[in-house]
Symmetry: C2
Subunit: 548 residues, 2 copies
Amino acid sequence: MDISLGEYLFARLAQLSVHSIFGVPGDFSLALLDTLPPTSRWVGNANELNAAYAADGYLRVTGLACLVTSFGSGELSALNGVAGAYAEHVALLHVVGVPSIAAQAKQLLRRHTLGNGDFTVFHRMAQNVAHTTAFLNDIRTAPAEIDRCIREAYLAQRPVYVGLPANLVAMRVPASRLAAPLDLTRAPNDSCTEHEVVAACIRLMRAAHAPVVVVDAGAARHGCKRIAARLVDATQFPVFVTPMGKGGVDEQHPRFGGVFVGTLSYPAVRAAVDAADLVLSIGGLMSDFSTSSFSYRFSTKNVVEFHADYVKVKTATYPGVQMKVCLEELLQTDSQGAQVSSLDPLGPLPQDYLWSRLGSWLREDDIVITETGTSAFGVIQTRFPDRTLGISQVLWGSVGFTVGATLGAVLAAEETDTTRRVILFVGDGSLQLTVQEISTMVRWGTKPYLFVMNNDGSTIDRLLHGNASYNDIQPWDNLALLPLFNAVNYETRRVSTPADVDVMFEDAGFANNDRIRMVEVMLPRMDAPLHLQGVEASLGESLEFVEL
Amino acid sequence: MDISLGEYLFARLAQLSVHSIFGVPGDFSLALLDTLPPTSRWVGNANELNAAYAADGYLRVTGLACLVTSFGSGELSALNGVAGAYAEHVALLHVVGVPSIAAQAKQLLRRHTLGNGDFTVFHRMAQNVAHTTAFLNDIRTAPAEIDRCIREAYLAQRPVYVGLPANLVAMRVPASRLAAPLDLTRAPNDSCTEHEVVAACIRLMRAAHAPVVVVDAGAARHGCKRIAARLVDATQFPVFVTPMGKGGVDEQHPRFGGVFVGTLSYPAVRAAVDAADLVLSIGGLMSDFSTSSFSYRFSTKNVVEFHADYVKVKTATYPGVQMKVCLEELLQTDSQGAQVSSLDPLGPLPQDYLWSRLGSWLREDDIVITETGTSAFGVIQTRFPDRTLGISQVLWGSVGFTVGATLGAVLAAEETDTTRRVILFVGDGSLQLTVQEISTMVRWGTKPYLFVMNNDGSTIDRLLHGNASYNDIQPWDNLALLPLFNAVNYETRRVSTPADVDVMFEDAGFANNDRIRMVEVMLPRMDAPLHLQGVEASLGESLEFVEL
């Protein structure tokens, strides 16, 4: 039995629960799409950048996603989305349909090239934002190369680029390779080094009077949410989460201390972390937004950083020690606690009211997606139920990301559980960059909640940089979008007051994700969530990018 | 008197009639935007890729445009548009607001970076699609560097990248530099070489029995439309235009022979060019779409290619000989003619009817923008009035380009003449990639004609690659777009029959561009213009990208 190389690729992806493929058809990817089996779904996005965002949203649910674009203009349009996946450490397999080997050799083709016969320039550009790349040119080695690329993307949680010449995709390869699933295990930790790390950790933990655990995005990316929770249970150390890691710990846990945003944290959170004499940092990916300033450092020098493939104890780095295995061993130690006082919410502002109230409406397993800016700051106040998945592109911060990511996340969620809710919060300004992906949500009959925060322009930029007219946007009739995109079974509503919010969140029908919904949340023009007002307050102080 | 560096940049651009600046505000470009003088306009696009397309449309009217984006995600989102400007030889100044020199040196900032402290990666990526670049770091040399970049973009008609640290833009520079306008003249041709070229041309022209002139896009880019017209007048040689060069010659001229599309040309056009024993090619930028196949060659070996900065006579290349000056000298020679029969239109199909009928409705100075695919092929049949400007991204072929380009072109046109009409033809599928830029057209009160060719998906891809479901799109209520974007003074109409088209084109009110208009043209699903059916007919024959 043999199958085409394209079928081989999609079969490998299906083995890893990747059943939806994202992208826009283009000249050089059509042949590949013709090999897509009926058990996989070609999503068909509105543009390539949106497709990359959607794939990113999908993989944050499944752990891996595949984006297919076409040579030249197609792949370049997706590049910002791929760079975001690189910055944020997620596993995006980017398959680019490229011209046939014969056409490349003859340098004959000119369309979608720069007109200079150079077929390698886009591959070279992609290498800057890829963990590894392959530019296939031999059918005999192609299946092994595909296996290598998928494996490396998965293990590194980074984008990988595969150039796939159109003449190869229909060629036959042995199906027997598929009988053995991909080996996604890492080489084991060197046991001597691991013992040394664990011994050092235990010494620090026993000596500490006020230890804390800080969970960042890397914990979820590398499958360490459960082990982090078990570490907290075992040690009873207070646990904090970064904005980027939000959803990575159970916020109902009695030891949950809050969201750590550096100097912009609630005072009690900041005090607790500053007072710590040991920080166990799990999956740390610090950015200026997630930590609120560049001068951010833990007060203590006793910091242990657990990463996917190394551990750092104070200033010593131990390459090759994987956190997952290392944390398992560490769990043999005793516990030691310190109580952090629960946080008092401040007096409600309209936005703050929404964010606080949201917590009671959320359910376990909900997926909450918040756009960089107002929404990502606001949701810090929302206490998540256990197993809530939070998605926010905090580090890369590409505006409009979440509309695409919502499409990907809702497709992934509905593939396994149609009752799992996907809830987007996006500003009216950010929405305008990627709005057409709502059309793709309609096309596939998905049922997300789309909250559009209408504050008449970009509040975050106004706060960061004054009230200049370049932050104004053209106002849209947002609630007309779903009918324009030919949605049939949908609901729209507009909420303007706390009472509106109460009615909405108390409506049992509304809580049931049986149709696509858009809620336009009308906010005062310069209103902002609590933490974002902190950004304003620290203008010219710690946020260097403001005072540039 | 001194001014800020930002004011200096915008003043230089204004001296070259660049009064509209395209882009999306971002963290590192805000400081630059604060220096924009009230005499210039910040357009404020819906996303960066659309902004690049719009800048491209603007510069095809003015000769130069400026795109401002922000470090990281902003600039990468625009990259496909910049690559298109590189492939198509147009002068796009891409100014990227980058972090302050201090932040770069300290490698402190992390947002919008890849998280690895590398601030140069995006600049390196941009170098692949730029004629030259500058990454400014010294206020003393910055004005001269800006001058160099603008000059090189203009003369090379290629994109140029300028990285502008946010801390430099408010620093003061001498205003006195602005008193001397930029020198945009090239070094003169070497007169000996030029005489040799001209002598060789004249020998070939005198010996030829059936000479022809073929005008491509480079003629308009480098200001050689008038001189090409004078050459035709003087020699009475028949003149043909390529699809990419359309609008570069007066199609009402008695010597106009038609549009040369290689093997897809009308038979009479193909026969005339094949029979030629001398081809004077002016501004040639051949692509597979504009010439219809890779095997395309002129039958004769007697080809003289005139380019911006070199001339090629048969196999001899003369670097540094500029076509404009060289053609002036050549005009001293005598004329010699050959008559080409006028072309008979074939029997009307619905699309063909529209394209043919369009010619009678067009006026001198109209700007006609056609999306790659159905529209770019269809408009080949339309006979343009003199001084019609045709815009189509034939070589790079990025889908959705024209919606952005229409915004740029209509802003540029209305800056000098509000009665000048800008007319877009875009497919319903292509529209979905960049639709939000219509919102920016509404915001600025522009008055373009937007013809949406609704054939329920991508006809060109169906023709090229069968009727697969991945070519289907979500149908939209397109005529609801203008009210959704809050247009006030607008007109929509839907035409479905030849009679509808006649009524529309005979309506004097419709011909008056006093409001923004959208016309949805309802077409049979698999209908295609004549030349595109030619593509289908040559499947597996000459179009290698089809048979990959």
